[in-house]
């Protein structure tokens, strides 16, 4: 690490392009949105930056507050399911043989590289009323329904397809489907770094596998677990496509409301205010993670 002062020309040559790009095409646009969030609509395209807090006040109305709260709940449920499902997977990859490890990692990563829209579309095909899930269950139902008579129950009637799509279940299912790799990869990284002899030492001192997991593995992998949680929670909170395509009328999340303000309702100032509320929520989550990571680092 050297001071820029000793290499001014070199520093300028390296730093100008990325910094300019970042300021011009990222910070400036965000700044405009931020200003708009304090504005009022004047006609169709004219926005007057009046310094009002009305847009933020409106976001606190029960309707929008409810959607915001629901988004947090849906993202939270997604995160917890991902953690529960993903932790054993991460553990399995860490302790897999050298031959299997890269393949398992690839197996988790490949969907992550696959287009989000394609994955969501594939889920729609599975979950539709006449989709593969219902088809399979219906087939099993017709084939094995008579088994019910064996235990003295009347044979079931014709199969009623379940409504798996366009509801909150589908949204959470889809969010888990999309975000599972986000959870597994940081968990894997954290567990892989763990000195395996710590686990052995715990077993050696008489602890069982479950206690070792709770008393040794979990505390030491905490930074990885927290970053997995944040990496899953943040994009799930701001998810647009999944609730839009898989959700029903009552599955709107905050991002869908923002989109509506810009594309249909044409209320940019309100949309801008909602965007910044979502951003602040994201920053709080990340700040929390950074704080925890620093605590963990200080302890090591």
């Amino acid at each position: 690490m050297e001071s820029w002062k000793n290499h001014k020309a070199l520093f300028a040559a390296i730093a100008t392009a990325p910094l300019t790009w970042l300021i011009l095409f990222f910070l400036l646009p965000l700044g405009i949105v931020w200003l708009y969030s304090f504005g009022t609509n004047q006609g169709l395209t004219q926005i007057d930056i009046s310094g009002t807090f009305a847009n933020y006040a409106r976001a606190l109305e029960p309707l929008y507050l409810g959607i915001l709260w629901k988004s947090v709940l849906v993202a939270g449920a997604t995160t917890i399911i991902c953690l529960v499902v993903g932790f054993p997977v991460a553990l399995a990859i860490v302790f897999a043989s050298d031959k299997w490890k890269p393949w398992l990692l690839l197996g988790i990563m490949l969907p992550f590289w696959t287009n989000l829209l394609i994955r969501t579309y594939a889920l729609m095909a599975v979950l539709r009323t006449e989709g593969y899930a219902n088809q399979t269950i219906g087939w099993l139902h017709d084939k094995f329904g008579w088994l019910m008579t064996l235990v003295g129950l009347p044979p079931p009637g014709a199969y009623e397809p379940m409504h798996l799509l366009y509801n909150n279940f589908a949204v959470i299912f889809g969010l888990v489907y999309v975000h599972l790799p986000f959870m597994v990869l940081p968990l894997y990284a954290a567990l892989d770094k763990l000195d395996k002899s710590l686990i052995e030492a715990s077993l050696d001192l008489g602890a069982g596998h479950l206690r070792t997991l709770l008393m040794i593995v979990a505390p030491l992998a905490a930074p990885g677990i927290i970053s997995g949680i944040i990496i899953t929670f943040v994009p799930a909170l701001g998810a647009y496509l999944t609730p839009d395509l898989l959700g029903g009328p009552d599955s709107q999340m905050i991002a869908n409301v923002i989109e509506r303000q810009f594309k249909r309702a044409n209320d940019w100032p309100f949309g801008a205010a909602l965007s910044f509320i979502l951003m602040y929520a994201t920053f709080i989550a990340i700040a929390f993670q950074a704080m925890k990571a620093r605590q963990a680092e200080a302890r090591q």
Binding site: L198, E200, G206
Partner: protein, 375 residues
Amino acid sequence: MEDKQPIISIRNVSKRFGQVAAVDNVSLNIMPGEFFVLLGPSGCGKTTLLRMIAGFEIPTEGQILIDGQDMAKVPPNKRPVNMVFQSYAVFPHMSVADNVGYGLKIAGVGKAERESRVAEALELVKLDGFGTRKPNQLSGGQRQRVALARSLVMRPKVLLLDEPLSALDAKLRAQMQFELADLQDHVGITFITVTHDQDEALSMAGRIAVMNKGDIAQLATPSDLYEFPANRFVADFVGSVNLFEGRLTLDEPDRAAVDCPGLGKVYLNHGVTGPHGADVWVAIRPEKIYLHVPGAGKAIRGAAEDAPEGHNFARGQIKGMSYLGDITLYDIRLETGAMLRVSRPNLSRRDQEDFTWDDRVSMHWRADSAVVLLN
């Protein structure tokens, strides 16, 4: 060793990883209270053997008994042994006292007893007063003591130590060698240590098993291992040695002779019990060879009195020299062209000036100095 029951009995144990046999049909008995060392180069299977005793690896074949009980179905957390890991594996998120008390807590020992036993264990490893510290506030040596206390507090039947001193610097290592031996003496628990360091093994062990390629090359006390190596591998691995190939030309109960093309005729004042005319190897330790200027040998002739004329005698020229403080090593090219290493203690402050590069020198050794190895 009386007729006590062995605390650990290893019976025909093999461990294969795929096609590779890390441990190959090893049988071994370790007695209660012993300080036992498994010594060998890396990859010889010593750590695998230790980990099988601890229960972290499962033998492909064979049986391990601890205190007469078959361990085949017993997981590591139920075995009456504890291990000190090479990396120490001190839990970084727990204080020293919590580390040491971890096993007791798992075992359900009450708080009051736990605290007193932890304090006792910390005192034993000279860490009293360190209980509230975190591992990142400790030095490497102190962490090792924590790992030691953490295992000792469990009062195991056997303490397993995996390369316990390898991460310490040379001075601390020498000190810990004595302390470990002392500690073992004090607590009376059987210690099994794995190491690749021969000094460590020789200084601490009661008995040493030298391992090579998954097999035990020799099992003996430290001095037997050094003075009476059973084969070339042990002679070469433990200490340094000059090895010469030769043929056994004379083999009687009280004397023997080996004809070495590289060294000349080597005379011994004891029998070898090898087949006559067999191809054998002669091993001579560098410190057992006397060095003197040609013609001045008479003054110290007494040392080689028992060697018949023309035997146990060689001439050469000094080709290499390294001064190590307490001793000086000389690499000498013999008249046959073979190289011989000789070490010479620097008994006075100017001894290292007696010889220098390209000096012509004579050497001789006693009739009981050389060891004849059949394989």
